[in-house]
Amino acid sequence: MNEQESTKVLAEKSPEQQTSRNRSQITVLIAYVVLGALLFVVLEMIPMPYIVVSLFPLGFRPAIVVIAVVAAKRGPIAGFLVGYLGVVLEGLLIYGVVVTWTLPAVAYGVMGLIVGLAHYDLTRGRSLGKLAVLSVIGFVITILLSVVIGLFVEHYGTMVAIGLVLLPVLTMGLFTLMFLTPVVGRLWQLVIDSVKR
């Protein structure tokens, strides 16, 4: 049953059934957000290998893939919340800080929001490619927002913004999203399909 059929069926159901279904969907969404945010924190806690080439780290940062995949599966609100809550929880649980009134977390939320705006069929290569591309676009916007927040709200140095935030975070993030997002997205779908079966 595709999405349109699903909507049609939903419209034909009684108000009680619709309410029940809405509740169920909200519950699933909350579960995705909570688990996604926690997974984000756990992955951020694990030291990941990387190498530095002229101050730019190259390696994988798997945590940000979670934002993209949750957004792809559950839509923009879930994507935004995973990004936002994941970053806020990471700050609170690991370092005991809330950075710049959680504005950097909002920037990560925006990535989830952007990725979640499109529809995906994670069994298809083209859709996985779309996920990777939108993740990269969302991440670039996230980092640009982070830099703007750093420069105009946190007021840190321009060299810090460009040399130690923008470029290093981009070099880590872009390769991660290009390579890992399609892989994790597909594997996630496989797991869900096998659970459903």
Partner: protein, 545 residues
């Protein structure tokens, strides 16, 4: 199979590329190569986690700087990346390297073979190189006689008036930024190794400071000393809180070691009063410099700015409205070294300092601005402020801040291990090569489980009778833990041997027996009054009783 491949082309391509990319970028993972076991011997339980420990990386970093210090002549700077632009920083590098490694030595206080002692000794000698012997590679040249300083002859109260009190000279009372560090390096050497070799020279410096602070320089008692503020200048016209925090700390350590009463006599009372009341910014933090007299050829800043007064607080360079110059490195350094003598001030100032100078970069990273009057700037002094704040944060037990500062400073660099795996450093060559050595010892003072404050206490006299490792095949071992537990009368040794190695113990008054995993390894072999333990390659948690 073909169908599956055809339908998952992108997935497979991304997976393969991801594996290749991940393989190419596999590096820089932290190394943990020791274990902390719990052993019970004759009903007594020894939990290795209860004793201070050095990590494998810390020891590898020490090996790296040891190669630079003891592996070459005192006047050589090969491998230090010490370009001409950094000549004025070399003596600081030596001094703070000595303080950071003193924390390492204290962590494994039962490991006192030649390795650590030779290192500390060589650092002191390197700090005291003269033009007469080492010409332009000497510290006397780089710190004092370099043409960009030309600190040669100075008089008080007018710098150029030879009829006044002579205060010039590399070792004189207007160069506290060298004399204090040199003396403290000697004091820590005696604290850690107790040879007596440095005592006379150390005593001379402490006595000289006392004269500077309590007399007019001609032998007459005078409040505020020669320079009227109870502090000692450098550069040589300015008194700095940070530079004076070193002799204050050194005086206390000297008193603690030798039972003298310089500090109790009030030698630094005027100076402490001056820095706590007069050398303050609007937040109650330390101001960065106070001119005691006008420098030669001083040029006032821009005409529209308020003029610098003499004597007077050094004025801020960014907002020229008369507010004092401030810096994070000044405050972090000062608070770290002054905490022992004025704990309440440091505890009070630390959160204010963090609020005014710290900048959040991300959850996992932050740095210290050089000056809160110039938040958009970033340069060497911001990095210095961050480096010094690591020591302060550790001393305050603020480990979350410490971790974030460490992440900021160290993540842009690769860990580079030597071919034999004995040495490691952070490769800063793509940024500022000179940072490589400071970051190496900076990592030690950020992570060693001993603080600067702890080192101001001398060791109890009984300490020198505790059993300790007096000789070892240092080149083939990693000593993570080595401490005498005086309550349980046992020596705790956590060691890895790369090759067969022998450790010689002194001060045991009986034939000791080594245990590993609670099982006896046998008695140590007696050689004269000492006992040796021979280890095959491997990692050991050993209790010797």
């Amino acid at each position: 199979m073909r169908f599956a491949v055809r339908n998952n082309k992108l997935f497979i391509a991304a997976l393969v590329l991801g594996v290749v990319f991940g393989g190419m970028t596999f590096g820089n993972l932290p190394v943990t190569q020791y274990t902390l076991s719990v052993q019970t011997i004759d009903g007594e339980t020894f939990n290795f986690a209860d004793y201070p420990v050095l990590t494998h990386e810390e020891l590898a970093l020490f090996n790296y700087i040891n190669e630079l210090v003891t592996g070459q002549g005192y006047g050589s700077w090969e491998g230090w990346n010490a370009g001409e632009a950094f000549h004025g920083l070399l003596h600081y590098v030596l001094a703070f390297m000595a303080y950071a490694t003193a924390e390492v030595f204290e962590t494994t206080s039962g490991y006192r073979s030649d390795l650590y002692q030779n290192f500390a000794y060589s650092l002191i000698k390197k700090m005291n190189t003269t033009v007469e012997v080492y010409n332009t590679t000497s510290i006397q040249y780089t710190e004092w006689m370099h043409p960009s300083y030309n600190f040669v002859d100075y008089y008080w109260p007018e710098a150029g008036n030879a009829s006044g009190l002579y205060v010039g000279g590399f070792r004189g009372p207007a160069n506290i930024m060298w004399t204090a560090h040199y003396a403290l390096m000697m004091a820590l050497y005696e604290r850690n190794f107790w040879t007596g070799e440095m005592n006379d020279e150390l005593s001379w410096f402490v006595s000289d400071w006392n004269n500077t602070l309590t007399t007019d320089g001609y032998g007459n008692s005078k409040d505020g000393g020669i320079f009227n503020c109870g502090l000692i200048p450098c550069e040589p016209y300015i008194v700095f809180v940070q530079c004076n925090s070193i002799p204050i700390y050194c005086t206390v350590l000297y008193d603690n070691m030798f039972g003298s009463g310089y500090f109790e006599s009030g030698m630094w009372d005027e100076g402490l009063d001056f820095i706590n009341n007069d050398m303050q910014d609007q937040y109650g933090l330390f101001a960065d410099g106070y001119y005691v007299m006008e420098p030669f050829n001083y040029t006032q800043p821009l005409p529209e700015a308020l003029p610098q007064t003499f004597p007077g607080l050094s004025l801020d360079r960014y907002i020229r409205d008369g507010r004092p110059k401030v810096s994070s490195y000044c405050n972090a350094w000062s608070e770290t070294f002054l905490e022992y003598v004025q704990e309440n001030e440091t505890k009070h100032d630390y959160p204010i300092f963090m609020e005014q100078f710290a900048r959040d970069v991300a959850n996992d990273q932050m740095y210290m601005m050089d000056s809160y009057n110039n938040p958009s700037g970033f340069g060497v002094y911001d990095m210095l402020g961050t480096l010094f704040t690591m020591a302060l944060a550790k001393q305050q037990g603020d480990f979350a801040t410490l971790a974030r500062l460490v992440n900021f400073l160290y993540e842009p660099y690769n860990r580079v291990w030597s071919a034999d795996g004995r040495q490691m450093y952070f490769d800063t060559s793509s940024f500022v090569g000179f940072l490589q050595v400071p970051l190496a010892f900076g990592y030690l003072w950020a992570h060693a489980p001993v603080n600067i404050r702890d080192l101001a206490d001398s060791r109890p006299s009984a300490f020198w009778n505790y059993p300790y490792i007096s000789q070892a095949d240092d080149d083939g071992i990693w000593v993570y833990q080595a401490v005498w537990d005086n309550e349980k009368n046992a020596f705790i040794l956590n060691v890895r041997a790369d090759t067969a190695a022998t450790l010689t113990f002194s001060n045991f008054d009986h034939v000791p027996t080594a245990y590993a995993g609670g099982v006896s390894l046998g008695a140590l072999e007696q050689v004269g009054a000492q006992y040796t333990l021979t280890l095959s390659p491997g990692t050991y948690n050993i209790v010797i009783v």
